[in-house]
Subunit: 120 residues, 2 copies
DNA sequence: CTCTTTATCAACCGATTGATTGACTAACCT
DNA sequence: AGGTTAGTCAATCAATCGGTTGATAAAGAG
């Protein structure tokens, strides 16, 4: 355990994990509190093994953790990785917004210098 | 075109699109402003066709759009879908945080009453 | 110890994915 | 018209993914 994955690898896994509707549904359920595999499997038609695999995918993405509690393995949400995902998106959303603002300002203030500060 | 996809389908596609490091890199580049396929392909070792496919994936996820400009097809970022992705995550992050707050309050108030209000 | 519950492991299967190469279309330039 | 530039389409291939069934492990209950 604790395979010290690179941050990019974790981001890959987190985005990929959230790309599946079943896994997103599991995350949604877990946001209300921990649950066992059986509880998580209950709303779906698919087998418990398939759900178990989905949980492993979420776990390797750092999105959930499992603890032991008798023969049950309660799964709980790990919000830090969710934050990392939004952080990545917000970073580039903000850069884009800023670029847009600059373009607007440029168009508004001076159309005479024809400066080309694109690229990079 | 314009296949009127369901919101869930778009979310699936958006998360899946962002799960690939090449595509995230493309999004990062586009946050600085529009670019052509050749410009986007330049930093990578892979073929231009592969980049073209990546752009198609981003496009079908609603993350970017393409326009025509002579024989070039400039790609630009479409921030609305990025917002939709963060919106999904933030929704459940907040629910989880709220649950946590409630649990804390419960534990604090029943510190001496031997509270046994566990689930099950 | 045996039985039940809870969950994972292992092997397998069809569909999808990321990449390649080669042929093609579209617009511009002489 | 012919050539160049920019990009997509099509066929192919190995690897990964989501799901299945069957066997197994681990802990509690009788």
């Amino acid at each position: 355990m604790s395979l010290d994955r690179s941050a990019d690898d974790l981001l890959d896994r987190a985005f990929a994990a959230l790309a599946d509707p079943v896994r997103r549904s599991i995350v949604a359920r877990l946001s209300r509190g921990p649950a066992t595999v059986n509880e998580l499997a209950e709303p779906f038609e698919i087998s418990k093994q398939a759900i178990s695999k989905h949980i492993q995918v979420l776990e390797q993405a750092g999105l959930v953790s499992r603890t032991r509690e008798a023969q049950r393995r309660p799964v709980h949400l790990d919000p830090a990785q969710l934050e990392a995902v939004t952080a990545w998106i917000d970073r580039y959303r903000l850069i884009h917004e800023e670029q847009y603002r600059r373009l607007d300002a440029l168009l508004e203030s001076s159309e005479d210098t024809g400066g080309k500060e694109e690229k990079r």
